[in-house]
Symmetry: C2
Subunit: 234 residues, 2 copies
């Protein structure tokens, strides 16, 4: 069919959108595969192009820049998660929400880096925020403190996941070896004689952190209630 006889598209935007989305989807899938297999640093325009059998320059037809690609990847991964566990208890809701976020980060080790840096924060990051804020409101925390605590939990979760994924920063794991080589005799008396298990239990440490923060939330709520209405006990 000669080009001139091709029917005008009734909804040109729709078709165009579809083709674009198909290619964008392929690229995003390839990018995730690359990140999961070889880390976020393995994504280059050249490697990603090769992964989909195209020239690096072909990518610029679908994304305006590398940053644009990383943002789309982050959005895709975060969007696919369900942060709302539908729990009646607000503590269970928060635990579930950050458990999901943490598993997401462990499954896609590049994700924390993508979210933290790269200006790649997608709209979908508001999903865990929404769940958490709702839970804290239920707990009796005001809007400001809820937001503050949400950011605290995000920093904690991303930090822990990054630490676990990347492996301990060189020389920062508290193995016997390190403590003998680098700490001994430098005035770090407590760190030197720390009694830790031979292997670090990341799951238990994560649960501990979440529980500690939730305890802190309860204490804050009680404190504020007492301060705002000292006669509530009457």
């Amino acid at each position: 069919m000669p080009r001139s006889q091709r029917p005008k598209r009734a909804a040109p935007g729709a078709r165009e959108r579809k083709r674009r989305d198909l290619s964008r989807g392929k690229l995003i899938a390839a990018a995730i595969e690359l990140i999961d297999a070889r880390g976020a640093a393995a994504i280059t325009m050249r490697s990603l192009g090769k992964a989909v059998g195209a020239t690096p320059m072909a990518l610029y037809n679908h994304f305006s820049s590398k940053r644009d690609i990383l943002a789309a990847v982050a959005d895709h991964v975060v969007s696919a998660a369900e942060f709302d566990g539908q729990h009646a208890d607000w503590r269970d809701q928060v635990r579930h929400c950050f458990d999901v976020l943490r598993r997401l980060c462990l499954r896609h080790p590049g994700l924390p880096g993508l979210l933290e840096q790269g200006d790649a924060a997608p709209v979908s990051v508001f999903a865990p925020m929404e769940v958490t804020l709702r839970a804290f409101r239920q707990a009796g925390l005001d809007d400001i403190d809820s937001t503050r605590t949400y950011f605290l939990l995000v920093s904690f979760t991303l930090g822990q996941a990054a630490y676990q994924t990347r492996g301990p920063i060189a020389g920062l794991e508290l193995s016997e070896q390190v403590r003998a080589d680098r700490i001994a005799g430098r005035g770090y008396a407590v760190a030197e004689r720390l009694e830790l298990p031979p292997s670090w239990d990341f799951d238990a440490s994560f649960d501990f952190g979440i529980a500690l923060v939730l305890n802190g939330v309860e204490a804050t709520v009680r404190r504020k209630a007492a301060g705002a209405d000292p006669s509530s006990g009457r």
Copy 2:
């Protein structure tokens, strides 16, 4: 004085060490200046070489790699800080310690990135750890929980400082504008109607986070004491 008549060095290692340290010191100082002025990404072997009036390759006489330079910078910055406030109360000690760490990160915006990634963790990171572990031991927390809480506080402090320094991730600050454009009508009912002040008070939010964690520590200690010795009230 002709070269052949120069006296043999009595302690060759010492003199050699001194010359090396001088050059290393110059390079570290130049690197910090570069980082503070233009961000950690501005450090390249070429830019750093130019800053000290030398070829990029000259740097390799004093550092084995770029990573080596960044580690030395991190160590220098962290070493200069005094994390021990000598406070009698363990809460004051912890507050002071992380206040110092936070100010360090705010003064040198590249530092969180240097510490988090880059495998650049210097031995000096054990200084704040030592202070914190000592404080938690005083509070009655065991070694494992102390270490867990220390890492929680580090993640929180670095995360908050990075967030404040870098400016909010694009589209993640909760301004009226963003909430109208990106949140409204997407099912984020709570986030949409959040009542926040027009400008975010980072100092107050940091204090809130620290206080919340300290409350959580107290609650954990009480809980463990009650569980371990239920008859303690007798």
